[in-house]
Symmetry: D2
Subunit: 344 residues, 4 copies
Amino acid sequence: MKVGIIGATGYGGLELIRFLYNHKEVERLELFTSSEEGTLFSSKFPHLANMYEQPLQKIDYDVLSQFDVVFASTPSGVSTDLFPPLVNRGPKLIDLSGDFRLKNPDSYETWYKKTPPPPEIVEASVYGLTEWNERAIKEAALIANPGCYPTAVLLSLLPLIKEKCIDPSFLIIDAKSGISGAGNKPSQTTHYSEANESLSIYKINEHQHIPEIEQAISMFAGVETKISFNTHLVPMTRGILSTSYAQVMPGITQKQLTDCLQAAYEHQPFVRVVEDATSVGTNRVKGSNYCDVFAKLDERTGRATIIGVIDNLVKGAAGQAIQNMNVQMNLPQTLGLQVVPLFI
Amino acid sequence: MKVGIIGATGYGGLELIRFLYNHKEVERLELFTSSEEGTLFSSKFPHLANMYEQPLQKIDYDVLSQFDVVFASTPSGVSTDLFPPLVNRGPKLIDLSGDFRLKNPDSYETWYKKTPPPPEIVEASVYGLTEWNERAIKEAALIANPGCYPTAVLLSLLPLIKEKCIDPSFLIIDAKSGISGAGNKPSQTTHYSEANESLSIYKINEHQHIPEIEQAISMFAGVETKISFNTHLVPMTRGILSTSYAQVMPGITQKQLTDCLQAAYEHQPFVRVVEDATSVGTNRVKGSNYCDVFAKLDERTGRATIIGVIDNLVKGAAGQAIQNMNVQMNLPQTLGLQVVPLFI
Amino acid sequence: MKVGIIGATGYGGLELIRFLYNHKEVERLELFTSSEEGTLFSSKFPHLANMYEQPLQKIDYDVLSQFDVVFASTPSGVSTDLFPPLVNRGPKLIDLSGDFRLKNPDSYETWYKKTPPPPEIVEASVYGLTEWNERAIKEAALIANPGCYPTAVLLSLLPLIKEKCIDPSFLIIDAKSGISGAGNKPSQTTHYSEANESLSIYKINEHQHIPEIEQAISMFAGVETKISFNTHLVPMTRGILSTSYAQVMPGITQKQLTDCLQAAYEHQPFVRVVEDATSVGTNRVKGSNYCDVFAKLDERTGRATIIGVIDNLVKGAAGQAIQNMNVQMNLPQTLGLQVVPLFI
Amino acid sequence: MKVGIIGATGYGGLELIRFLYNHKEVERLELFTSSEEGTLFSSKFPHLANMYEQPLQKIDYDVLSQFDVVFASTPSGVSTDLFPPLVNRGPKLIDLSGDFRLKNPDSYETWYKKTPPPPEIVEASVYGLTEWNERAIKEAALIANPGCYPTAVLLSLLPLIKEKCIDPSFLIIDAKSGISGAGNKPSQTTHYSEANESLSIYKINEHQHIPEIEQAISMFAGVETKISFNTHLVPMTRGILSTSYAQVMPGITQKQLTDCLQAAYEHQPFVRVVEDATSVGTNRVKGSNYCDVFAKLDERTGRATIIGVIDNLVKGAAGQAIQNMNVQMNLPQTLGLQVVPLFI
């Protein structure tokens, strides 16, 4: 397979490279850029010395159309323009940005404050939440890879909503992310001395992942709801942990919550159902494509705490993108992704 | 004033020392211990060299009864036995543990799994949430200093519950703390390599601060409710940020939420009402006695996000304890506590 | 006293504010800027809410000449132009940048790659290493406040060089700093995700503090030498630890090393001689104006390890600047600076 | 291949597991323990759920003698007793502790304060610095895997000493390590709140890696010398950076330093010669088996700064051990170890 990455210099791109380096079906991996053509990749990223000594290439559709798979890992708004000319011209396309995720163009405009991509392209694109959409992904020409937060939130909540274990009408989702989620562009918010040793909240009720989560709840669980969703910046590099709260449906027990999660994922290699709260932590998945999910009933209040844990750069971005590529290319889902979490 | 600290070697004790060193009404500060008698304090804590060259003293009631104020900053269960003999024998007593906080002895036994202190002592003790209980604190012989989480949660929620801005029947409180909250005793959970770069959850629905928060909501806002309350361990040393979620009462606006908080605290030196979410962060209060509170209405869902931010070791422990001492001793609340947050 | 700060928005400026807030001889503190005139200071730095609600002022020499003391905490090259018109016009001047530190203009040009300030101003300025230059500081109109690294290095090495305990001809100085030393301007190097969890080296043999250290060794110990000096970036916000290596002079013992340090600093409030290596750590001085010094002889090699530890933003910048102001104004050195290190 | 790990619960053991999971010649991997027999490994280490669901086994020589390779990753002093009965009984042995590294039993006793292993076993063991001892490793029954610090120090210094580029008589080695080097046992030194945000020094002139480094300089470069060697604890989990200082030999240029390093390692897959100081950083090797080496001449002083950078748990422990196993088993050195550094 020949694989290309557009936007290889971002953190999503670097993680694609990290995993594709060990993907045995990838024969050639080439890196494309709109602005740093000719730059030797390993001089920009010395951790890749001895591995990627090639220069960044100019984006060229004739070249790209010869590839089997092309990933775009670009800032929001870029693949809106970049990907449409490549659709159905040869390569399978996987977009890591939010550009093709929202089916409703008004919603895209409202939350992203950007012009939406051509509606027929959005329509034909497939939402790449692998565990919930495998059949469609297999046939997809263009995959809209899920956002990092939605991945953690949806994998933990969808089974419980779909199987009517929890009441979806009052869903509180309190999410926390490591700082790599903000990307590689320096800013005051991500300046070490100001981000270190501080916990903050951002985009209160305004995160563009809100409509993505609501759309997926509708799509996969058949429920329309308005969620409360907030995001916190945690002084660590990697990891997302989402803590959700909901009333359980009458009569639902702890065992039913756990069983429901287990039934949903028993054949899924990358979702692990955790049964002990002390096993919940972002270091348990660090560097890997795992998502750990957990649900705990509070008998006193009749409410459940539901948790999803991922590495935001892996299952929340590059890892899931490769998992989707594997599905598209009829390869085992786990190819190139079977790594043990770092833990420390 | 002569002031004694029992349990000076814990983090609460060290912070008492840090602030009392600059408290101009404190003439003598002496440190007591049950186990390390005679140890030179600055040899155990070299950061105090040149400042506290005195040895730790044995706990002696005759000596302690000569003091004006005695703080206990000991593990839970210790002041249950230690403080009763000192009540009304001279010194004002301030307990930083949870031993005297819960008025209901059954509740104490249930949540703390320990034998409760003598009921008459608990009855006579005063809950030291300074901004909400100043009058009682002024007269108190024994103060039960609030827990770290309850301080952040209550200061942010109480005005909105009391003034009926939010519906107290479905309160979700998602709290996050730096690791110093776990105290100074090494454990696997607080081992650097395992706590660093990881976010985890603990004591799901089981934290002993739950009944403390519910009791205070009843006491100060006249409302009985059962909260959902979870606590997360954040890889940083200091800081608590609590994010609470509730439906607002019909017709309540953003302005009313902010006004309600401002009205509650306009004469309070240590509670600041924040109006801009980008100003919310634990580094804004680090090392200081401030509590920043913030409320934001989500028009889309009709729910509010309500935030309280403190330094867990200061406003959440030693700082509030000194603030209470000042009230008890008829001194300005701010004495010894007027320090600028470190920010970085 | 009326005190002004030019460049209040940098980390040095913020630390000046933090300490001057509690300096009882400072009646008015005003903040000046060249670029953000009119900005409400607490809106830019919300941790100062309730404390500094004033707007930033335009730099105006007529206004500044009415002040008792003016600090400049500006990037290198700025006070070269800014301070000369104020010299001998009224206020005592204290410059936290490197502009006036090097007496040799060629050296300034070589290491700073900038045009040096007027030679007569440089000549008249006084190097503010308080413990070694107090008499000159008392009379100074303009103080060149020492660099952060030189402070740690010089306070630990000067007594041993001056008293001929170590051989100054082969001095290896391996210094390490927290990231706040890089200032508040975002960059890739200080971007959280890339600085976090990584130790790096920078400006190998090229740091502009090299000539400053060599000049001070000449000035205070009468020895000309060329040092090896490297600087490392440590993933923490505050703190400098310098580890120096030198052959001890024949016959010199461990006791003589320690005695030499103690003799040098026995009457100095802010330098502490540490005798136990386990007491050496940047958290022992965090947030305070202390410098801890330590020397250890290796009998096996005849070489000594000599350590200096400071908080780079306090003793390495704002704290020492205020200490110098106190000396200039005939106040006790410790005024406003008597704070206990945070430790945690 | 059947591979066993004794001491799988330490950080070295966990890293062995992480890499061996993807080693295609390892058919069975079994975990042995002296104290936690029967414990389900993934219940103790939940990050291994779905991967290592097997129980820890009791150490049994009859079982172990059926294995192809046995690693010991145990505290110092343990394999002294544990390994001798297995020597030449079947499996290749690789010891990650310091027990078999020092050829001189007196030296072992002096620096380790423990009884040395049987001299004939020590004599027959081979020091596993792969790049410098490959031929002997190929034939070895028992490998003494190098210490973390010696690996970084020796790989950077050996070529320059052997080729007489630097003067070995006055070698200053200032080493820095992340906290995982202290192992997984909780202590005050590694307690998060006290290790975080602090840089400290430990074992001044007393580290047991000193004789190991000196012995290897003698063994591989034919030079007897006494080094100065200090170790610092850096607030990060992984990574070692050693900064060494030496006078260069007369006439030696920057180009010769770099060429010397490049010549030494041009055919070595895991040592990279860095030419730009901005590329030096522990995040460049994080999670990988790379060692980056760098040398910079200071024309002004005639001294060189020489740097070695590794991930202490990989090239400094488990990675190098597997590299040695590959050599012993006549496999390509890189098998199972070809992973891209994490960088962030």
